[in-house]
């Protein structure tokens, strides 16, 4: 009796197959250690901008201070006292490192969604939510440099400077917590920033809001420390003393905290979007600076920016890492204009197309109050200036908001408008209603 296969082995194989199918929870995923990426200014010579190029001692000091304040790497988070985070940062991760040196220990602080059965959910907290959902775009350090970032226009936000576009606080101020929450819950319409409402639970959203703030605080502190150190001598042992570090950190925290009480609420109620109000808004649009950027037909092709056709070619015309080459191939004058019209983070920028019919999107939300905030206070880091209280007063603000909201459904508002003869406005021949 000859047997070529042993049935027992066959059975064993089949058993293994069954065991490995659908039982992925058995294998816990260990991403390994992630590491923060340092600010450029730490080592690179940035010319007139503060930097620590060629000052290894000061660099070491900044690194050591950063690790002491915020933890050495993303796995070990520390939060200085008084941070504008929920419960002093407890929702950032499942582990928080407390104490220093020998006394340092990991404390398990927040487990999962339900506060139940901590062992089942060892990986939770803002850091985990961020790592799973945001890191590939926004990067480990929050520098907007995740592995997928290069392929998006607009580029994912760099959180490290604390500058956010879609805020309800005064021009240039830090955002309110609600602003960040809105961005994460609803996404930024028309960009690759997704809406996380259907994917994350409300508590996960709060956790990741905290983590975004944490990365901002960390990045701002790093820049401030570098700036402070850059005015010291390399040999100065007293540089970045405890007092100064404290001052810097509390300065960073205060900027966030004070913004929480400064939300701009329109002084008067919205004017009904009547025909008169919309037409007044239209006239304001044509008479003010809007058209220079957004274009005579509000198609996002204003004369003060590089022509849409050219910027399409630069942004979408090939390998994103070769964008600089494409810019270099432009005529000098266009090149200069292009460089002038980058956003605060050095990425390509272009004015919104406000006249795309029902496809018109508003990144920061389509509520009248959102549009009000955008126009009244401008868009931080994106060159769009604020317009309140001047040149627009309370009443004019609502007229222009009403106009912006009506325009996509009534493009004839602009195509049939009396031509205001302004320099650089596109010819009326372009005025094709959709």
């Amino acid at each position: 009796m000859v047997s070529r296969f042993r049935p027992a082995r066959r059975l064993g194989l089949i058993g293994l197959l069954f065991a490995s199918a659908g039982c992925s929870d058995w294998l816990s995923y260990d991403p390994g250690s992630l590491r923060y990426i340092e600010a450029e200014a730490m080592t690179r010579d940035l010319g007139p901008k503060p930097n620590l190029h060629g000052k290894p001692k000061l660099q070491a000091k900044v690194r050591e201070t950063m690790a002491r304040l915020y933890g050495p790497d993303p796995q070990f988070i520390r939060v200085p006292k008084g941070a504008p985070l929920m419960l002093g940062g407890r929702y950032l991760a499942s582990h928080l490192r407390e104490g220093d040196g020998q006394n340092a220990r990991d404390r398990r602080i927040y487990e999962g969604d339900s506060f139940q059965d901590p062992k089942l959910r060892p990986q939770s907290g803002g850091y985990t939510v961020y790592r799973r959902n945001c890191l590939h775009c926004h990067g480990v350090t929050g520098a907007g440099d995740g592995p997928t970032a290069a392929f998006f226009f607009p580029r994912p936000r760099d959180f490290r400077r604390g500058i956010f576009k879609f805020t309800s606080t005064p021009t240039g101020a830090r955002p309110h917590r609600d602003d960040l929450r809105r961005t994460i819950v609803k996404g930024l319409d028309g960009t690759s920033m997704p809406a996380f409402e259907p994917i994350l639970s409300p508590s996960e959203i709060e956790q990741v809001v905290d983590y975004v703030i944490f990365l901002s605080l960390r990045g701002e502190t790093e820049l401030a420390l570098i700036e402070e150190a850059s005015i010291s001598e390399e040999g100065d042992n007293d540089a970045l003393g405890e007092d100064i570090v404290q001052e810097i950190v509390s300065g960073v925290f205060t900027r966030w905290k004070s913004a929480q009480a400064q939300v701009v609420n329109p002084a008067v109620a919205r004017t009904e979007p009547t025909r008169e109000s919309i037409l007044r808004g239209r006239d304001l649009f044509l008479a003010s600076d809007c058209k220079d950027c957004h274009g005579r037909l509000a198609k996002g092709d204003g004369a003060s920016f590089v022509e849409t056709k050219i910027s399409d070619e630069i942004i979408f015309g090939g390998d994103p890492s070769k964008m600089a080459d494409r810019v270099a191939a432009l005529p000098e004058k266009v090149q200069a204009l292009w460089k002038q019209k980058l956003d605060e983070w050095g990425n390509p920028l272009r004015p919104a197309n406000l006249n795309r019919g029902k496809e018109t999107t508003y990144k920061g939300g389509r509520r009248p109050i959102d549009i009000y905030w955008r126009i009244a206070k401008g868009i931080n880091g994106a060159q769009m200036p604020g317009h309140y209280p001047s040149p627009f007063d309370d009443r004019k603000m609502w007229d222009i908001v009403n106009f912006v909201l009506a325009l996509p459904y009534e493009p004839e508002l602009l195509t049939e408008a009396p031509v205001a003869p302004t320099a650089g406005a596109p010819a009326v021949a372009d005025a094709r209603p959709r």
Partner: protein
Amino acid sequence: MRHWSILFAMAAVGAVGAFVYAYFSPDWWLPNPPGDFHHSVSRFGREIDKLFFIILAITGAVFVGTQVVLVWAMHRFADETDSQGNPVRKADYFHGSQRLEVIWTIIPAGILVFIALYQMGTWAEIKYRSAAPKVPPLAEVTARQFQWVIRYPGPDAKLNTVDDLVVVDDLHFTRDRMALIYLRSSDVLHSFFLPQLRVKQDAVPGLTIPVWFDADRAGDYELVCAELCGWGHYKMRGKVYVHETEEQLRQWIDEKLAEQNRSRLTMTTAPNGR
């Protein structure tokens, strides 16, 4: 080696057993409400399930029949050797059988034709544009990488006007009423899939495709994308909520509209700003 027949018999019994087990397990059964997992909530769901069971019965019977023959043949004709190690039976060789081939071609073909004809009514009812319910559209659903932009008519009851409600990933409709949506895509191919309602329709750039469905139970369901559409495909999900009454749906839309029309904060300093 007669043992082989036992192994194959076990595999067949296991496969049949899996289907029997599935019938009693909400996790293994079709996507239905957890409390009542044998109830398919939508009219089309019930029809599709019926077709599914007919096909299951046919394939099940064929499977059991062929397995019985297979196992029996393995058992009956297992290789046997005598004490010298020589085969007891001689193998026969014959060059095909036209009659058998004709039979086993005609029977499956007949079954396929039967299924093709039998399902036509259901297909027509679910997919033919002429069968679309004559109701005002519930919404226009535009797929984009990686979300569902859903536009409901506002107070004027007309789509694509300034008072529309626009939400993301949130589909609401009313129980026991055929809901009609217009499906579009603003970038690549996506597929609008309501697993519990057994509705699946590709969203094709450049086309506006009517899709209709109902549910006989209020509650939460799921919307997912069923066409690999890019890196974020796996998270292209939406919530579906079925309201008890039309008033409740209206009320939900009104609440959302009130928020969409918000022009001032009521409490500037409330901790959560709401």
